[in-house]
């Protein structure tokens, strides 16, 4: 019977030890706020930018200021969420037969941007958090716009008498990143 008593004693000791010590060794509840998902916010902002453009055009005299304000709002909100948000956008609008192109730089660093409108090339230096504009004189009704900055180049086919918005957006978190284009 000694072996059986031995086993029984072992069981009792283990149970007593576990009951006595487990509250002290339980892992602490990890965090107050658990970080939000990257893809949800990216999807949300990607779909919201065109709405912001429409609201800006319909309710404001200065569309570019509204777009800058919204970009800063998104930046501040995503900073609070622990996300790294960046965007560079173009706002294209005709002025009579000419085309005004505004570049909004929210990449987090100053950058040189090259705009090529059907062979007519202009270079703009845009500081971080700023929007700069340039005018292209009498482009064709439908024109090719090539946007170049850093190592990125994008080709767009646009209409002169149609207001257009284009954005290149990126969000990063904990080594994961998502890139996307906004067209409106």
């Amino acid at each position: 019977m000694k072996g059986q008593f031995f086993l029984l004693t072992v069981f009792i000791l283990i149970a007593a030890f576990y009951i006595g010590i487990s509250p002290r060794i339980s892992p602490p509840i990890a965090v107050d706020q658990i970080p939000e998902s990257l893809d949800f916010i990216f999807d949300n902002v990607l779909n919201e930018y065109p709405r912001a453009v429409n609201l800006a055009m319909n309710t404001s005299k200065n569309t570019v200021n509204v777009l800058k304000n919204f970009s800063n709002f998104v930046k501040n909100s995503t900073d609070e969420m622990g996300l790294n948000f960046s965007i560079i956008w173009l706002f294209v609008k005709n002025e009579s037969e000419n085309v005004n192109i505004t570049v909004g730089n929210f990449l987090g660093y100053d950058t040189n941007v090259t705009l090529n409108v059907s062979g007519n090339v202009k270079h703009i230096y845009v500081q971080s958090g700023v929007a700069n504009s340039t005018l292209f004189v009498s482009p064709p009704s439908k024109f090719q716009l090539v946007l170049s900055f850093n190592t990125t180049e994008k080709n767009l086919l646009l209409e002169k008498h149609k207001v257009s918005f284009y954005g290149l957006m990126k969000m990063e978190k904990e080594g994961n990143s998502i890139n996307g284009e906004i067209k409106a």
């Binding site: 339980s26 892992p27 107050d32 658990i34 939000e36 916010i41 930018y49």
Partner: protein, 121 residues
């Protein structure tokens, strides 16, 4: 009688196995309660409400209470804050382990960017 030693040996092995299992169990980080992330559900709720043209009216009127009452999440408590560029309207829960589902809008009828925070616990 010859088998006595064998049985005692077997019993010792079983006892040692039980003790070692206990020690290994203590050595591994263990979650007492399985952590399920409801933020995806929270985001889907806000997105569906926006698709149904329900969300923005609440936000425009800063009616966080009605918005909160409209949201149903089985098994969880929740509350809502609506934050524009200057202030937040709503309740921040005084509990540990909060999940947050956020939704950003640019406005409704006029430009007024807001962030809706759905707190879940």
């Amino acid at each position: 009688m010859k088998m006595k030693g064998v049985w005692r040996t077997i019993e010792s092995v079983i006892a040692i196995t039980i003790l070692m299992s206990f020690v290994l169990y203590l050595g591994n980080p263990v979650l007492l309660k399985e952590q399920v992330d409801p933020t995806s559900k929270g985001y889907e709720i806000l997105k569906i409400m926006d698709s149904n043209n329900e969300l923005r009216t609440f936000v425009e009127n800063k009616d966080w209470s009605s918005l909160n009452n409209k949201i149903h999440m089985h098994g969880y408590n929740h509350t809502v804050e609506i934050c524009n560029q200057t202030a937040c309207y709503g309740e921040y829960p005084n509990v540990e382990n909060i999940w947050v589902s956020s939704y950003i809008i640019s406005g409704h009828g006029k430009y007024e960017p807001c962030r809706i925070k759905l707190y879940i616990w």
